[in-house]
């Protein structure tokens, strides 16, 4: 509601107090500072990326041909991770808010939160030492018995360090982020609506479907986007766990896996020099653009799907 006020009214006549002005200015500056920092990052990325984009590159490839497999791997691994993490996170958040006994719920919630605090290197170590060997037999089985499904085309990796393993690690890493937010959102479902559905004789699940999920829809999207941002940008864990080959393939159990942009930077940067540095930072720019796009799209979706609550 930003209707222009009739001219003759006394809307804003108060003299501004200096302290108020300063406080507001400080707050505004802080916000603007964030924009400046982000602009700084963007400028840095663009400036470094330009030489790589206009080429020429060592292998005569175009920059885009070089970055495409990495982009694919980034999106594919993040997609796999989200496919696992989002339903899980929603289920866990529901469990904590609506199913578990209350006392237990807060402790369990804390335990899940703790996952967010574990450093990515440790996820990497765990992925190599525990998860990959654990998953390897399953991959072998899948490749052997369900190999006709393109996802599971043999041969299976002998070490289990496939994109699916990396995606599982990513899923575990983003799970607490999404769960924590969904939990807050589900807790804020208007009691009135929950009670309305229960009073109509809804079971617990029906109540969740009628009141909790519709109310939380935009929040679920928003939290998933936050999680997705982490999954897209995760560096160390993926670099350590994934047997990357820069392939463009949907097979999730094999030795030849796509690499991701962030992990590739970590792998290549130490030995990079000259134009390769520009290429790597250029790929960082692509990742940045993806994040920007994903956020914009999610906002658009949220704006479209949110029914305006007011009168």
């Amino acid at each position: 509601m930003t209707t222009a006020a009739p001219a003759a009214t006394t809307r804003a006549s108060a003299p501004n107090r200096p302290a108020d002005v300063i406080f507001k200015a400080v707050s505004t500056t802080a916000g603007v500072l964030i924009l400046i920092a982000l602009a700084g990052v963007a400028i840095f990325l663009v400036a470094q990326a330009v030489p790589a984009i206009i080429g020429p590159l060592p292998d005569d490839d175009s920059f885009w041909a070089w970055v495409w497999p990495l982009t694919f791997g980034t999106l594919w691994s993040a997609f796999l991770a989200m496919v696992m993490a989002v339903p899980m996170a929603i289920a866990i958040a529901l469990f904590i808010t609506h199913f578990a006994p209350r006392r237990l719920a807060s402790i369990l919630g804390y335990a899940i939160d703790l996952l967010a605090a574990i450093p990515s290197v440790i996820y990497g170590l765990w992925g190599i030492a525990v998860l990959a060997p654990f998953m390897q037999p399953a991959y072998a089985w899948l490749a052997e018995n369900l190999g006709w499904i393109p996802l599971f085309s043999p041969p299976a990796s002998g070490t289990g360090r496939t994109i699916l393993t990396a995606a599982i690690v990513l899923a575990v890493m983003v799970l607490p982020i999404i769960t924590a937010l969904c939990r807050e959102i589900f807790l804020q479902t208007p009691r009135l609506n929950e009670e309305a559905s229960l009073a109509l004789g809804a079971t617990r699940w029906e109540m969740i479907r009628m009141a909790v999920l519709p109310h939380g829809r935009s929040g679920i999207i928003a939290s998933s986007i936050l999680g997705l941002g982490r999954a897209l940008g995760e560096t160390m864990a993926v670099a350590m766990v994934l047997a990357s080959a820069g392939a463009v393939t949907f097979v999730v159990v094999g030795s030849q896996n796509p690499s991701t942009i962030a992990a590739n930077i970590a792998l290549r940067f130490p030995e990079a020099h000259g134009i390769t540095v520009n290429m790597l930072i250029g790929s960082g720019l692509v990742l940045f653009a993806i994040t920007l796009l994903v956020n914009a799209i999610s906002r658009w979706i949220i704006a479209k799907t949110t029914v305006d609550g007011g009168r």
Binding site: L192, E195, L198, A199, L200, G201, M210, A211, R217, R311
Partner: protein, 259 residues
């Protein structure tokens, strides 16, 4: 459709706190019963125990029994979901589902039980319920807009339509008009008058004029002080409660000497 309710020596607790003590009363079918009393005396609490909605609040439980045509709501093996389907409820603040259209709101409860209702039957039911809630004429041309797009009074009637669409036996209303303007209030009071032909109605109200206008019998609750349990002080014909109550505090309350 409508049924008789019998409350026997009911205590209600919120955790360790006893909110209501020793309530016993009988409510006849096809009648309107008003619960009145000062704030915090337990009117809402007792009302919610009638369809086991208090169980939604963590730690709340009852001691005593409530019979619906002789069947104990708190008997072993009774499913609260069944209870609530037979005893509908309308809340103080209108609470249509914000993501649903008017039509979907009315059908919300029905579709739970009967997924495969034909389009025609659905249309019938929507019309019947909205007519029953005196809302049909105002919304018939825009059944597809979100329920939250209506005015407060219309929303409240939408909630009533939603509640009667599942054909309950009893309708509980917790201060259904307290958030509404006078015109909407009158519309709802008229509606209660009509609904009484088919349903047993229990209404909580802060407004004594409203109680005297709409109810056949009135129950007066009171509380001795903060932290004490609320009690049923007097239950009688509405005319008697307002003209010649037998307890002094009822007299004080209805005559406006306190509360």
């Amino acid at each position: 459709m409508s049924k008789r309710i019998e409350i026997n020596d009911l205590d209600v607790y919120y955790g360790a706190f006893k909110a209501v003590e020793g309530v016993s009363l009988e409510i006849e079918p096809r009648s309107v019963t008003a619960f009145i009393g000062p704030s915090g005396c337990g009117k809402s609490t007792v009302l919610r125990t009638i369809n086991r909605m208090h169980e939604v609040i963590a730690g709340a439980y009852v001691d005593g029994e409530i019979l619906l045509d002789g069947a104990n709501l708190y008997g072993s093996g009774v499913d609260p979901v069944n209870v609530r389907r037979q005893i509908g409820m309308v809340f103080q603040r209108p609470n249509p589902f914000p993501t649903m259209t008017i039509r979907e709101n009315v059908l919300a409860g029905v579709l739970l039980n009967n997924r495969r209702m034909s389009k025609g039957d659905q249309d019938d039911l929507v019309e019947r319920s909205l007519r029953g809630a005196n809302l049909w004429n105002e919304v018939k041309d825009r059944l597809g807009i979100p329920g939250s797009g209506l005015s407060g009074g219309q929303q409240q009637r939408l909630c009533i339509a939603r509640a009667i669409a599942v054909s309950p036996d009893v309708l509980l209303m917790d201060e259904p008009c307290s958030a509404l303007d006078p015109i909407s209030t009158l519309a709802i009071e008229d509606l209660i008058e009509e609904l009484k032909q088919e349903y047993t109605i229990v209404i909580v109200t802060h407004n004594m004029q409203q109680a005297s206008r709409v109810s056949d019998k009135t129950a007066f609750f009171n509380i001795a002080g903060t932290g004490k349990p609320g009690k049923l002080i007097e239950y009688d014909e509405t005319t008697r409660i307002f003209s010649n109550p037998s307890v002094q505090s009822t007299e004080d309350y209805v005559s406006g000497r306190f509360g």
